[in-house]
C-alpha cells in the first residue's frame, strides 16, 4: 500500500448552485479494494458529489485524482473511460435489449465488437460473458433484460459499471447509488455477496440510507450534511447513534408507538377472510380495527403487495370475503374503495401515486376533490388553500404548490402523495406499500408521524414496510407471509423482545 496511489483522491472539491453550496470543500481518499459507505439526508449533497464523480457536473473548485492522475471530466463518457462506473438508484437499463447489449453498448465502438455499424453478436456475447464471469454472476448474456428479476438486473448494472475498459491500468471504482432501497432482505444478501467479490479487483462506494447495511458491508463510512463531510470513520466501533448525530442537526428520537391504547370496540375497519388469489396468496384472514396498524412482512414473492392491492380493489381475488366496516363487499373496485374511505399509497410512487406534470394543488385534489368543489365546479382558490395547508403541515420543500410535482425530490413527493389521501375527513383505512422507500431519516420520521396521527383519529392502517425494524417500530400486529400464506402472527401489544431474526426465519 506504500507507493500505490489511491483509486480516488478528492481535494477540497466544491460545487455551488446559486447561493447553495451543494458540495462544500470535500476531501477524501479511497484505496484499492476498499468499500466505502456514503450516507446523509436527502439534499445533503451526495447526489451532486456522485454527479461530479460521474462527469455530469463539474466542480467549481478542487482537484480530483484517479489512480494518481488528475482527472478533468467534461462528459459522462470521460468518467467511464477513467474507470468510474455508476449503478444508479433507478435502473438505467434497456429492458428490451439483451444482457450483453446492455453491458457492452458503450463499448461497441471499441475494435472487435462491431465494424461499420454492424454488431458482431458473437464477440459482444463473449465479451459480456467475460465480465459476468469476472464478477461471478451466472446470467445468460443473450437473455432479455426485461425478463430478469430486479436483483439480476442490478447485477447487469454492476457488470456494465465494471465493463468499462478491461485493459485499464488502474483499479475501477464502482459507485452503487442506493442499490438496496427497493430490495428485499434475501436480495440484499445476494448484493452483499456481490460487493464482497467486487472488492477483489475494484473499489466500491456504497450509498445508502440504511445504516445497518452500511455498517455491515463497508470498511469505512462517510457522512455528509449540508454539502460537507461531517464524519469519515472506520465502521469498526462506530455506532448508529454517532452516525445519526453526524447526519442530522437534532438528535434523533427513536420513537416507539405507545401500545397501551386498547383496540377500539365495534366492527373492524377492514377484515378479510379466506382470501385467495391463485398464484399470489392463499387463504389469508385478518382484520384491522380503527386505530390499529397491521404490518404485512415477507419477501417480494410473498404475495403481500398483491394482497394490499386487492384490499384497495386494484386486483381481484378468486375466493374469500372482504368486509369493510362490518359489511361484506362484492365487485370491489378502486372507485368504490375510495368512496368507502380507503386509501392506497403505492410502492411505485412515480408511476401510480402521482401525476408528475401536475402541481401539488392538483395532485392533492386528485382523490377527494369534494372538499374543493362548489356544485359541479372545482374552485381553484379552495384547492390552493387546501394544498397550502398540507404543504405547511408536512413541511414540503420547496414550499411551492404550483411547481410540477415531478420536479420535487422523492421524499417531498411522498409527502404530497400521503396528503392526497389524508385530505379526507372520513379516511377509514390507509394501505401503505413501502411508504418509506428511498426516503431519508428526516422525511421518514415525518411520514411515520402522519401515519400515527391518522391512527389516533381512528384510521386503520395496513402497512407493507421496507424493513422488519420498521414493522417493529410501527405495528400493533405483524403478519408474516411466505409464498402467499400467513406463516405467523405477532401481537406486538403482548409480544416482548421479538427479534428481527425470528421474523426473518418465518419469512424464508
Amino acid at each position: 500500500m506504500t507507493d500505490v496511489p489511491p483509486v480516488l483522491k478528492l481535494t477540497e472539491i466544491s460545487r455551488t448552485f446559486g447561493k447553495i453550496k451543494a458540495v462544500d470543500s470535500v476531501s477524501l481518499e479511497i484505496r484499492k479494494g476498499e468499500v466505502i459507505g456514503l450516507t446523509g439526508e436527502n439534499g445533503a449533497g451526495k447526489t451532486t458529489l456522485l454527479k461530479i464523480l460521474s462527469g455530469i457536473e463539474r466542480p467549481d473548485e478542487g482537484r480530483m485524482e484517479i489512480n494518481g492522475q488528475v482527472a478533468n471530466f467534461r462528459r459522462p463518457t470521460d468518467a467511464l473511460k477513467a474507470g468510474i462506473g455508476i449503478v444508479h438508484q433507478e435502473q438505467s437499463l434497456f429492458t428490451n435489449l439483451t444482457v450483453a447489449e446492455n453491458i457492452e453498448h458503450q463499448n461497441i465502438d471499441r475494435s472487435g465488437l462491431g465494424r461499420f455499424g454492424i454488431q458482431n453478436w458473437g464477440r459482444i456475447n463473449r465479451s459480456a460473458q467475460e465480465v459476468l464471469d469476472k464478477i461471478g454472476v451466472r446470467l445468460d448474456p443473450r437473455a432479455r433484460v426485461g425478463d430478469l428479476s430486479f436483483v439480476d438486473r442490478q447485477m447487469v448494472e454492476i457488470a456494465r459499471a465494471v465493463s468499462v475498459d478491461p485493459d485499464m491500468a488502474g483499479t475501477p471504482l464502482v459507485i452503487l447509488d442506493e442499490p438496496t432501497a427497493v430490495l428485499e432482505q434475501a436480495e440484499v444478501d445476494v448484493l452483499e455477496r456481490e460487493i464482497r467479490k467486487l472488492r477483489e479487483f475494484a473499489s466500491v462506494i456504497f450509498v445508502s440510507h440504511r445504516l445497518d447495511e452500511v455498517l455491515r458491508i463497508c470498511d469505512r463510512v462517510l457522512v455528509m450534511r449540508h454539502g460537507a463531510l461531517t464524519s469519515d470513520r472506520s465502521t469498526e466501533g462506530v455506532t448508529k447513534d454517532e452516525l445519526f448525530r453526524a447526519m442530522v442537526d437534532e438528535t434523533p428520537r427513536l420513537s416507539k408507538r405507545d401500545r397501551a391504547a386498547p383496540p377500539q370496540p365495534g366492527p373492524a375497519a377492514i377484515a378479510v377472510s379466506g382470501l385467495t388469489r391463485e398464484g399470489k396468496y392463499r387463504d389469508v384472514s385478518f382484520s384491522v380495527r380503527p386505530g390499529e396498524i397491521v404490518a404485512l412482512v415477507g419477501t417480494n414473492g410473498s404475495g403481500r403487495g398483491s394482497l394490499a392491492r386487492t384490499l384497495f380493489g386494484a386486483e381481484t381475488s378468486d375466493s374469500g370475503t372482504i368486509e369493510v366496516a362490518g359489511t361484506r363487499v362484492g365487485g370491489w373496485t378502486i372507485p368504490r374503495a375510495v368512496a368507502a374511505g380507503l386509501a392506497y399509497v403505492p410502492a411505485e410512487r412515480k408511476v401510480e401515486g402521482m401525476i408528475g406534470g401536475y402541481p401539488g394543488t392538483r395532485n392533492i385534489a386528485l382523490a377527494h376533490p369534494e372538499a374543493a368543489r362548489s356544485g359541479p365546479f372545482l374552485r381553484h382558490a379552495k384547492m390552493a388553500r387546501i394544498a397550502q395547508d398540507w404543504f405547511d403541515r408536512l413541511g414540503v420543500s420547496p414550499n411551492d404548490i404550483r411547481q410540477p410535482l415531478g420536479q420535487f425530490s422523492g421524499g417531498n413527493q411522498q409527502k404530497v402523495v400521503l396528503a392526497k389521501w389524508l385530505n379526507n375527513p372520513d379516511l377509514k383505512v390507509l394501505i401503505l406499500d413501502h411508504p418509506l422507500r428511498g426516503l431519508d431519516v428526516g422525511v421518514s420520521q415525518a411520514v411515520n408521524r402522519e401515519i400515527r396521527a391518522a391512527c389516533d383519529t381512528g384510521t386503520a392502517v395496513v402497512l407493507i414496510p421496507d424493513t422488519i425494524e420498521e414493522a417493529l417500530e410501527m405495528a400493533d400486529e405483524i403478519l408474516v407471509l411466505k409464498d402467499g400464506e400467513v406463516t405467523a402472527r405477532h401481537d406486538m401489544r403482548t409480544a416482548d423482545g421479538l427479534a428481527v431474526q425470528e421474523i426473518v426465519a418465518e419469512m424464508i
Partner: protein, 349 residues
C-alpha cells in the same frame, strides 16, 4: 422457454425464488425479435388460409398465391420503414402522400403518354429522392424542433399529396408506354412475381438493419428509454432523422412500384396503405409506445391483413360489405393479438 439456448450461455443464476429468467435465445424467436415466437400470429394465419380454402377452392391456387404476393409487395416495403419508426416510439403517417409524390415524379420522367422525357434510371433517382427528401423533412422537424411525429408526418402527408397534385396538373392521365416497365412487376422470376422479390430484398435489408446494426438496436433503445439512450452518448437525434429518412425513401420506392403495378400515375396511388401498414405492425406486436416488435413480425401482420382482404373477395363477400367486414375482422385480430399482452399494460412491480 428456450432451454436449448441456456446450456451454451452459462445458464442462469439460481438466486432467489423469483429468479425465473426466460430466454430469447431460440433462433426462431430471435429472428422475430421477441421472447416468445409469434405462435398466435402464425396459427391465425393458418386458420385463415384453411377457412378461405374451404370457402373457395380457388383461394389455394397457384395463381391466387402469386396474386397475394403481388399485393403484399407494396405494404411489405412500407412496413419495413414503418417498423423502424414505430420501434423508436414515433409514428409516420405520411406514407400515402409520399407515395403519391414519388410515384408521380417517377412516371412523368419515365416513358409515358404525357411528357416526352425519359430519364431512364434517373427517374428512379428523382422518385426515390422525393421520398428521401420528405422523410428527411419529417425527421428534421421531429428531432430538431421537437414536434410530435404524429403531427409532423400528417403535415408531410399533405405536402406530398400537394406535390403529386401539382405534378398531375389538369391535363391527361400519364400512362406508362414502356411494355418492359409495365410487365416487370407481374413477371415471374423463379415462380414468384418480381414485385415480391423487390419487397423481399427490402425486408432482408430491414432485418439486417434492425437486428444487427448499432443504428437498429439504437432505435430499439430509444423506444425503450430515450433519456438513458441520450445519457449513454447515443446520437439520438441523428438516429431519429435517419429512421424517418429511410421510411421516406421506402415510401418513395413503394410509390414507384405501385405506379408501375397500376401502369399509370395517380395522386392517390397510396390510398388505403396506411390502414394496412400501421395495423400490420401493431398486429405483429410492434407496440406503438416503441421498443418492441420486429421486422418479421410486422411481415406476418401484412400477410394476415392482405390474405384477409383477398380471402373476403374470393369468399364472395358483397363489395358493399367488404370494408365493414374487413374493419371488424381487423378489430377482432387486434384484440386477439393484444390479449396476451394486456398484463404488460399494467404497471410492473
Amino acid at each position: 422457454m428456450a432451454d436449448a439456448a441456456q446450456s451454451g450461455g452459462g445458464g442462469t443464476r439460481a438466486a432467489g425464488p423469483r429468479t425465473a429468467p426466460r430466454h430469447g435465445g431460440a433462433p426462431f424467436a430471435r429472428l422475430f425479435g421477441a421472447t416468445t415466437g409469434p405462435v398466435g400470429l402464425i396459427s391465425a394465419l393458418v386458420v385463415l388460409i384453411l377457412v378461405f380454402s374451404v370457402l373457395n377452392p380457388r383461394f389455394a391456387s397457384v395463381e391466387n398465391l402469386q396474386n397475394v404476393l403481388f399485393q403484399v409487395s407494396v405494404p411489405l416495403i412500407l412496413v419495413v420503414g414503418a417498423t423502424l419508426v414505430i420501434q423508436m416510439g414515433s409514428i409516420d403517417l405520411s406514407v400515402e402522400g409520399i407515395m403519391g409524390a414519388a410515384g408521380m415524379a417517377w412516371i412523368l420522367l419515365s416513358p409515358n403518354t404525357r411528357l416526352a422525357i425519359d430519364l431512364g434510371v434517373w427517374a428512379w433517382a428523382v422518385g426515390l429522392g422525393v421520398g428521401l427528401g420528405l422523410g428527411l423533412l419529417t425527421g428534421l422537424i421531429y428531432a430538431k424542433l421537437k414536434v410530435p411525429s404524429f403531427v409532423v408526418s400528417l403535415g408531410t402527408w399533405y405536402v406530398g399529396l400537394g406535390i403529386a397534385i401539382l405534378l398531375y396538373g389538369n391535363s391527361s392521365l400519364p400512362s406508362l408506354t414502356s411494355d418492359a416497365l409495365e410487365r416487370w412487376p407481374t413477371a415471374l422470376t423463379l415462380g414468384l412475381p418480381n414485385s415480391f422479390w423487390l419487397a423481399v430484398a427490402v425486408l432482408a435489408a430491414g432485418v439486417l438493419i434492425s437486428n444487427h446494426t448499432r443504428f437498429g438496436r439504437g432505435l430499439m433503445a430509444i423506444g425503450n428509454n430515450e433519456p438513458i439512450a441520450r445519457g449513454s452518448g447515443m446520437p439520438v437525434d441523428l438516429y431519429k432523422v435517419a429512421a424517418f429518412a429511410i421510411a421516406g425513401l421506402l415510401c418513395g420506392l413503394a410509390g414507384i412500384l405501385a405506379t408501375m403495378q397500376l401502369g399509370s400515375g395517380s395522386t392517390d396511388i397510396g390510398f388505403g396503405q396506411l390502414f394496412i401498414v400501421i395495423p400490420a405492425a401493431v398486429i405483429g406486436g410492434t407496440a406503438l409506445s416503441g421498443g418492441e416488435g420486429g421486422m418479421m413480425r410486422s411481415t406476418l401482420g401484412v400477410f394476415l391483413l392482405i390474405i384477409l382482404n383477398n380471402g373476403l373477395v374470393l369468399a364472395g363477400v358483397d363489395p358493399d360489405y367488404q370494408s365493414g367486414v374487413f374493419g371488424l375482422l381487423l378489430l377482432v385480430a387486434i384484440i386477439a393479438v393484444a390479449w396476451p399482452g394486456r398484463d404488460r399494460l399494467k404497471v410492473a412491480k
